[in-house]
């Protein structure tokens, strides 16, 4: 047999990027988030039935940021089988990197009318610390949004994967990492505003940050980023790299015996996942208007895992669904029954892991996810 024939027979056919309904759904999502919602927010009068409130736009934007994080988590946990309990740190680092730029944009309009942010005046600092250098330039901050979480993930991942730490060991070490970073950022002397973090932003790229048009623009950018992440994930998973990643999840030893070194693959997907989280954080901060160290708390990071678990890990839309459902529920509970939120969340963790190993998606399409 010729080589091509062999390939035809044994190498699975590369699937199309999306199925017909998939393209339709993506298009509909793009239409709603890029055109319909921003227009309904900007055009109709505030008392019109069609008007979408700032609250709704901000909440939807926030949830889309969480969806990006969930996709990032899905890449590393759902497809590669590595559970990170420290993704909050990458999200927060992205947020802080962009927050630095937003703080510089306040200019002299802070409480103390100084070039320095209020918290630095309060600490009696006379100049910016070295790591704030260049943060007044949008481009450098945008680069930092990628560099900071990326480099941290690269260094951490290299040492962790090199010594073949995996499974629960890896999970609890990532948890310790985010915990340590939280403590670090809580210190006033670290130079990121301590307890209060960054807040009171005034403008971004010169536009007032609370103006409806700015909000609508950031909202649309978040939607674009989310669509981009969906494309990227799908493309990656379909590719040969994606196949190696799923192989790592299903049987790392067998993959190694077949002559692959998983280190590079793991490191790549781990760093990519961290960078995506960082971008989500950077989009999150201008919409929510605050970033503080509690974003790095271990509880926050582990919550990310439950979004993915609820939706269905290892599927493309599951994590999106999970992030939206859980965060919607969180908004609902913390407003109506704040004391029962932890009960709900706790039970969600337990019930989903016990009864829905494939998440909500597994319920919807049992045939596709039946265990082999």
């Amino acid at each position: 047999m010729k080589l091509e024939e062999l390939e035809m027979r044994y190498v699975p056919r590369i699937e199309p990027l999306f199925s017909g309904p998939g393209w339709m759904a993506l298009g509909a999502f793009a239409l709603v988030t890029l055109v319909v919602l921003p227009l309904l927010y900007l055009l109709p009068a505030a008392d019109s039935a069609l008007h979408v409130s700032s609250y709704t736009i901000t909440l939807a934007g926030k949830i889309m940021c969480y969806c990006i994080v969930a996709m990032a988590m899905n890449l590393i946990w759902g497809y590669t089988g590595i559970l990170s309990l420290g993704h909050g740190v990458f999200f927060a680092l992205g947020g802080y990197a962009f927050g630095m730029y937003l703080m510089r944009q306040i200019g002299r309009e802070g409480q103390y009318q100084s070039d320095l942010p209020d918290f630095m005046v309060f600490l009696d600092w006379k100049a910016f610390p070295w790591f704030w250098t260049g943060s007044e330039h949008f481009l450098w901050s945008a680069t930092l949004v990628i560099l900071a979480p990326g480099l941290l993930a690269l260094a951490f991942g290299y040492f962790a994967f090199r010594s073949r730490i995996k499974g629960v060991y890896f999970s609890i070490i990532t948890q310790a990492m985010t915990f340590a970073f939280m403590l670090l950022f809580f210190r006033n002397d670290t130079g990121f505003g301590g307890n209060n973090g960054f807040t009171d932003f005034k403008r971004v790229l010169g536009f007032p940050i609370t103006a409806p048009s700015t909000r609508a623009a950031i909202f649309a950018m978040t939607a674009l980023a989310l669509i981009g992440v969906v494309f990227l994930t799908r493309y990656l998973i379909r590719s040969k790299v994606g196949r190696v990643l799923t192989a790592i999840r299903d049987s790392e030893s067998r993959l190694m015996f077949s002559g692959y070194n998983p280190l590079g693959y793991k490191l790549f997907v781990w760093t990519l996942s961290a960078v995506l989280c960082g971008i989500a954080g950077a989009l999150y901060v201008p919409q929510v208007g605050i970033i503080n160290p509690s974003e790095m708390s271990p509880a926050n990071s582990i919550e990310i895992a439950v979004w993915v678990a609820v939706g269905g890990r290892g599927s493309l839309i599951g994590p999106l669904l999970g992030a939206a459902v859980v965060n919607g529920a969180k908004s609902f509970f913390t407003q109506t029954f704040p004391e029962y939120w932890l009960f709900f969340l706790g039970l969600l963790f337990i019930l989903v892991t016990l009864f829905l190993p494939r998440g909500v998606i597994g319920l919807l399409s049992p045939a596709r996810w039946r265990r082999t």
Partner: protein, 534 residues
């Protein structure tokens, strides 16, 4: 409370005895002088006399019992009787037009020091010791005669030494180089950082460029003494750090022991382990409340009863969890992580609903308060008790694992579950019991923690990440790994903390752990085997 009672009893006794001896009438008369300065001089002179009667008089003055007759005679009024201040003889008939001597802040301060110093002559050793400690850092040369008197009478070597140190410190100001030399040499024995500062001051030059201390011999002796003090301070500093490190380490050990057992056996990390601590601590609290209401006489011993209660409470909750949730997730360790985290959230909220979100108060039994004093540090009894307790739990655990049938089964299942099951080990029951045991030990840790910290719904969260690190560093399957890792991390943290602060210590320790497992991925003590993970 107790020392205060003793003092007043002692003062009362003195007041009776004092009738026999009289104070210098001229000095006493000056207590009633117009100017504050003269009155202060009189107080200092009374102290210098070192007389027991002086203490009684000064105490009376502090209590506002000293009055002035219109003729300028100083009298003490007790109840409705008046006594002569110098002789304490009753005055009949009672004088009229008495005016109380005003005690302003300056005089009150002088009185406090004077009374404190005069207690050096008390017959009660504890009062003398407290007094000697209180004046250890004084700079009032007026106290010298009194201190000398106290030294000549002192029978207790400890107090005597402390007094000699105080005297030497005051002698540094003497004009006689010989006295100063002797003082500097005596001070080599000191444990006080202040003494070091004072000696260092001798070596400095004043504005005109000449040494503060003119005598070269004294300066050389001072340098030697400073070295010796420095060394002693350093040693005791290190000892103190070692102690707090061991204390932290033994807490980590208590927390991590249970974690390591369940991880070794079942391959799952129980994220709700911290909540087992919390349950143990709350069980201790409940026991305490029961003792308070039903057996207040035995209150000091509630802790002894709380130990089995805390163990049982946590063990039962742990076994219930194993049966209801964790059992169904074996072979899926990452999901177990999430499910047990859910359990932990649930338990925290449950405790909040039952006991409230505020911390509850768990009291130390009276035999646990106080501590052992060593040179210039105090080792609290509750910390010592925790170190001893964790060693006891460790011993029990070791006996259980190495000497009992259950221990044999646990070790067997840890090494090879399938093979153990094949030879008839009831693995399901072993899992259940081992999980209960691990949770129970966590309950014991909670009981111990309730004695040194706050008991609240978040209690478990503060120790859990550190104890995970202990398990990562120590490896699983052997107690020794956990012991070395816990004590090592505890001591290392406490040695780093004074230099770089608590937060950077945590980060550095994490970095060190990651660096360490580069070399030994399975932790300090891994079980040797040829198995390959699937």
């Amino acid at each position: 409370m107790k020392p205060a009672l003793l003092v007043s009893a002692f003062v009362a006794a003195l007041a009776c005895a004092a009738t026999a001896r009289a104070l210098d009438e001229e000095i006493v008369a000056r207590l009633g002088a117009e100017e504050v300065g003269t009155r202060l001089e009189a107080i200092n002179a009374l102290v210098a006399s070192g007389d027991e009667a002086a203490l009684a008089l000064l105490q009376a003055m502090q209590d506002g019992q000293v009055n002035l007759t219109p003729s300028g005679r100083v009298v003490v009024v007790r109840g409705d009787k008046a006594f002569d201040a110098a002789t304490m003889a009753p005055i009949e008939p009672e004088p009229e037009g008495l005016e109380s001597i005003v005690v302003n802040n300056r005089i009150r301060g002088a009185l406090d020091t004077a009374i404190g110093a005069l207690k050096l002559l008390s017959p009660d050793r504890a009062v003398r010791l407290a007094s000697a400690k209180a004046i250890e850092t004084t700079s009032q040369a007026a106290l010298l005669p009194l201190i000398e008197k106290a030294i000549s009478r002192e029978s207790d070597p400890g107090i005597r030494k402390s007094l000699q140190q105080t005297k030497a410190a005051l002698d540094l100001k003497s004009s006689d180089p010989g006295t100063r030399l002797a003082a500097v040499s005596t001070l080599a024995e000191s444990n006080q950082a202040q003494v070091k500062t004072r000696l260092l001051a001798l070596l400095e030059k004043d504005a005109s460029g000449s040494f503060v201390e003119p005598d070269a011999q004294v300066r050389a002796a001072a340098e030697r003494s400073i070295d010796s003090i420095q060394r002693r301070l350093l040693i005791s500093d290190y000892l103190a750090r070692l102690f707090t490190g061991l204390s932290l380490g033994s807490i980590l050990l208590l927390v991590a022991l249970g974690l390591a057992i369940t991880y070794g056996l079942l391959g799952v990390i129980n994220m709700a382990h911290g909540e087992m601590l919390m349950i143990g601590a709350y069980a201790t609290f409940v026991t305490q409340q029961l003792f308070k209401s039903y057996a207040p006489g035995l209150f000091d011993w509630y802790l002894v009863a709380a130990i089995p209660v805390a163990f049982a409470a946590s063990a039962l909750v742990g076994m219930a969890l194993e049966r209801s949730v964790i059992r169904w997730l074996y072979g899926r360790p990452l999901e177990t992580l999430l499910a047990t985290w859910g359990i932990s959230l649930f338990l925290i909220q449950l405790v909040r609903q039952i006991f409230g979100a505020q911390n509850v108060e768990v009291a130390n039994p009276s035999w646990m308060s106080g501590g052992v004093e060593l040179t210039n540090m105090v080792l609290p009894y509750n910390r010592i008790a925790i170190i001893a307790f964790s060693m006891f739990v460790l011993l029990m655990m070791w006996l259980m694992l190495s000497r009992t049938r259950l221990g044999l089964f646990v070790r067997g299942v840890t090494q090879n579950r399938i093979m153990a099951s094949c030879v008839g080990v009831p693995t399901e029951r072993v899992d259940l019991l081992a999980f209960g045991l691990g949770s129970g030990v966590a309950g014991l840790a909670g009981c111990a923690l309730s004695q040194i910290g706050n008991v609240g719904p978040d209690l478990g969260q503060s120790y859990i990440i550190d104890s995970f690190m202990v398990v990562v560093l120590g490896g699983v399957g052997q107690l020794a790994g956990t012991v070395y890792a816990a004590l090592g991390l505890g001591v290392l943290s406490k040695f780093l903390e004074p230099h770089i602060g608590a937060v950077l210590t945590k980060i550095l320790v994490l970095v060190l752990i990651i660096a360490f497992i580069q070399k030994r991925p399975q932790g300090l003590f891994a079980l040797k085997g040829r198995a390959v993970e699937a």
